[in-house]
């Protein structure tokens, strides 16, 4: 049985940019532990001879022709921007860095 720690939950919350209180961390630590257990039960059944399934539909190679289609105008592209300089989105100062 795998344990999940409060530190791991806090780390995951940080990666997902979700602010959690101490109480919420405690609560989610227990819940995530249970989810992990449930997944482990599945893993016991899924032995080496069972091929992992990432897609339930037996389809492959669905491709698009390399042909330009309809596009948005600049105004349309920026329509939902909280803020823009007329041609680009404005976002607040980035503390992290490019990936």
């Amino acid at each position: 049985m795998s344990e999940i720690s409060a530190e791991q939950v806090a780390h995951l919350a940080n990666l997902a940019r979700i602010a959690l209180t101490e109480d919420e961390i405690q609560h989610l630590t227990a819940e995530l532990g249970q989810i992990m257990q449930a997944v482990e039960q599945v893993s016991q059944v899924a032995t080496a001879d069972v091929v992992p399934t990432s897609h339930p539909i037996p389809l492959t190679n669905v491709f698009r022709e390399d042909v330009v289609g309809e596009t948005l105008t600049q105004q349309q592209a920026l329509a939902n921007a909280p803020e823009s300089d007329g041609s680009r989105f404005i976002v607040s100062a980035i503390l992290g860095e490019e990936q």
């Binding site: 190679n61 330009v68 289609g69 596009t71 989105f89 404005i90 976002v91 980035i94 990936q99």
Partner: protein
């Protein structure tokens, strides 16, 4: 930023063995993006020509560009890789506004191509086999401009501007295995490897391959281990090295920097570092994230890619000759000396010279313009030589010199116009009025003026001192700003002497 202490390069190599690894991103030149049908073109107005998917708008779904898959397979084959019978896309999750979706569609555990090898040859003739771990498909991210900081860099920025035009451009990321045994050649191996990748993608015709446009980008991993040690040292990953010269310099810098830290008893921090072209140094970036932190999982919106054996065979049959064979063939065809050939290869200009020769120039003229004037202009401007002009433009210039329309001196002026984007050589000759003047009327007027200053020249010529014509030719050249056809001026002066 305090400059790091650097150990002498030779001393660093006495104490430590460098091990490098390279990640090269190649932007493909398909007509449309990786997962949407919006145009894949450089230089558009910001945030124009976008599809809702490129902005990560809700309700949009990606569809794979079949042409990009073919390009990726061709590249994998050219790198000597095996092509996966089944490969799939994965989500790489991170929060950064360069992608609107908050994840990048990439490939993780099932890349399209794996286990290859690329042969490179250094200017000194040493040959290395570079082991390729994988080449995978992914999408490029948008472009951020940091505003408000003193330097436009991330630190101190007050806000950032986002242009999503590049978001979704098809990319292939090529990852090498650790490269051992390069010793003092490590910096040049890194540079030559990226030049070779560039030659390959140009020969395949799958990328515009312009370094300045970011069509090819390189991250360089460097680690050192003490002589005799088995275990690899801690590595750093230097980003933002986007010219051949800076790749070489960045690797050399990291070797010297890390050696000094280790020799002083310190430890290398595993981190990304940023290369600064202006200072010639790297600075610390973020600590390297665990791959786990990206929480990769199979992309649920896309189906696996399973290329048929027939398709792979077809693409394999269409491959251009491998770089090593091509190098040997070109060397034989061009008839250059070893030094001349090295000059071209070292500048990463094999493809440029080859295409210029294909466009009609002589090998000697192609080499002269690329490794001479263009390289000089590139160095002066801190740019990549290959980005300054196209092979067709250089061939046109060589033809104008060959035809006597331009002297070398005028050709250099025309070349400056080409680099400044003023048009084709012929257009610049017309616009700037740079052609050699061989019109007799104009020449005779200038000769008359010169003879008025030097009335005894004709007499000397009649006395058999033909070289006296040189003084008139010089004066005419000066008066016509170097544009006079010297041979015609000489003929006219001698005719005049005989006639009077």
């Amino acid at each position: 930023m305090a400059k790091a202490a650097l150990m002498d390069y030779d001393r660093a190599l006495e104490l430590f063995e460098p091990v490098i690894g390279l990640e090269v991103h190649v932007e493909l030149n398909t007509k449309t993006k990786m997962f949407s049908s919006s145009p894949n073109s450089f230089g558009r107005e910001p945030n124009t020509g976008l599809a809702p998917l490129d902005l990560g708008l809700p309700g949009t779904l990606p569809v794979v560009n079949g042409e990009a898959v073919k390009y990726s397979i061709s590249l994998g084959l050219a790198l000597g890789c095996s092509i996966a019978e089944s490969s799939r896309f994965a989500r790489k999750n991170y929060f950064y506004p360069d992608l609107g979706k908050n994840y990048q569609i990439s490939q993780y555990d099932e890349p399209i191509a794996y286990e290859g090898e690329v042969e490179i040859e250094l200017a000194n003739g040493r040959v290395f086999q570079i082991p390729i771990e994988r080449a995978h498909m992914e999408e490029d991210a948008g472009k951020l401009t940091h505003m408000g900081g003193a330097t436009g860099r991330i630190q101190g920025a007050e806000y950032s501007l986002v242009d999503y035009n590049r978001a979704g451009v098809p990319l292939v990321e090529i990852v090498t295995k650790p490269i051992y045994g390069t010793e003092g050649d490590a910096p040049e191996v890194a540079k030559t490897y990226v030049q070779t990748i560039r030659d390959i993608v140009i020969a395949l015709g799958i990328s515009d391959a312009r370094m300045e446009h970011g069509n090819i980008r390189c991250d360089a991993n460097v680690s050192l281990r003490p002589r005799g040690a088995e275990q690899l040292g801690t590595r750093t990953e230097t980003k933002n090295v986007n010219s051949f010269r800076s790749i070489e310099r960045a690797v050399r810098y990291e070797i010297q920097r890390q050696a000094q830290i280790l020799a002083d008893g310190g430890a290398i921090t595993q981190e990304t570092r940023h290369w600064h072209e202006d200072t010639g140094a790297t600075s610390a970036g973020r600590p390297k994230s665990d791959a786990d932190d990206y929480r990769y999982f199979p992309e649920p919106d896309l189906l696996p890619v399973q290329p048929s054996a027939e398709l792979i065979a077809e693409l394999r049959a269409a491959l251009p000759e491998p770089p090593a064979a091509r190098r040997r063939r070109l060397k034989a065809e061009w008839g250059f000396t070893d030094l001349e050939f090295q000059d071209v290869a070292n500048g990463g200009l094999l493809t440029e010279v080859a295409l210029t020769v294909e466009a009609g120039a002589s090998p000697a003229a192609a080499r002269k313009w690329w490794t001479g004037e263009l390289t000089r202009l590139a160095n002066a401007a801190g740019r990549e030589t290959a980005d300054l002009a196209t092979p067709a433009q250089v061939a046109e210039l060589a033809a104008l010199v060959e035809a006597g329309t331009l002297t070398d001196r005028l050709a250099r002026q025309v070349l400056e116009g080409v680099v400044a984007g003023e048009g084709s050589p012929q257009q610049i000759v017309d616009a700037r009025g740079l052609a050699v003047v061989s019109d007799d009327g104009a020449l005779i007027a200038a000769i008359d003026a010169a003879l008025a200053q030097q009335p005894d020249v004709l007499e000397k010529i009649r006395d058999g001192k033909v070289q006296a014509a040189g003084a008139v030719i010089g004066a005419v050249m000066k008066a016509m700003q170097g544009k006079a056809d010297a041979a015609r001026v000489r003929e006219l002066v001698i005719e005049r002497a005989a006639a009077e």
